[in-house]
Symmetry: C2
Subunit: 156 residues, 2 copies
Amino acid sequence: MISTASLSDKAQITDITARAGVFSQEEIDSVPVMFDEYLEYGTEGDGYNFLVYREGEQVLGYAIFGYRDLTEGVYDLYWIAVDPNARRKGVGRALVTACEEAVRDLGGRMLIAETSGTAEYASTREFYVRTGYVNEATIKDFYKPGDDLKIFVKRV
Amino acid sequence: MISTASLSDKAQITDITARAGVFSQEEIDSVPVMFDEYLEYGTEGDGYNFLVYREGEQVLGYAIFGYRDLTEGVYDLYWIAVDPNARRKGVGRALVTACEEAVRDLGGRMLIAETSGTAEYASTREFYVRTGYVNEATIKDFYKPGDDLKIFVKRV
């Protein structure tokens, strides 16, 4: 059900991002760019890794993670997006688990998920806590005044 | 004395990095790559900005800073390197101040300096504290086991 993404998933990935309701226009626009880099360079070096959750031909969600430069074994969990019509089916949790397994397979030892401290992202923060991440650091007013950076960490 | 870097500074910048004694080989190797990007794209978008401190023809130190994606007005102070033969002349402090002025001119409101928690970087951390940065966050074992990430922040 979960596998690495391929070219044919691009349209559905882009569509889910736009419909997820939590991403800024800048973030939405960045997804096809990251996806093209992923297709061109694969998982080598400091590229992006896309995993998709499929039910038949339909993509229900996807995750992006990637190696953090200058570290030994740290990976960023950039984000997880689930189709709003496929919520409460465990898609997000399954994607997190798959990312963690992929990171372990790559010799990684830590995942980092950075998110916002605003009310809008409360369910995202709760999701990370439920899946075993700890809010180890906060930078006030990082994204913009009133919008803190919350760094969630899980050691795998 | 401080100005934006130009092509003719590249060799001295590379040389100072190698001789500074605090950078890993990976970091040393990354400097010419960042410098070429800086020359090609300038300070637009999410590029690197290089400032150099010159005395006549000689470069005594340099600083790299750059806009942090997805933020309003946050800039990373990637690093400051000073020629070991030019220490205790205020070169580092002058470069930090110049970066802060440049960031303000670009409409920025915050600088972030990430460094290591190891004994080797004690003088770097003391330097940031002396120049008004606050260690607002720490991620244990980030760079590698026993080597924490220290995030220093200054609001300008």
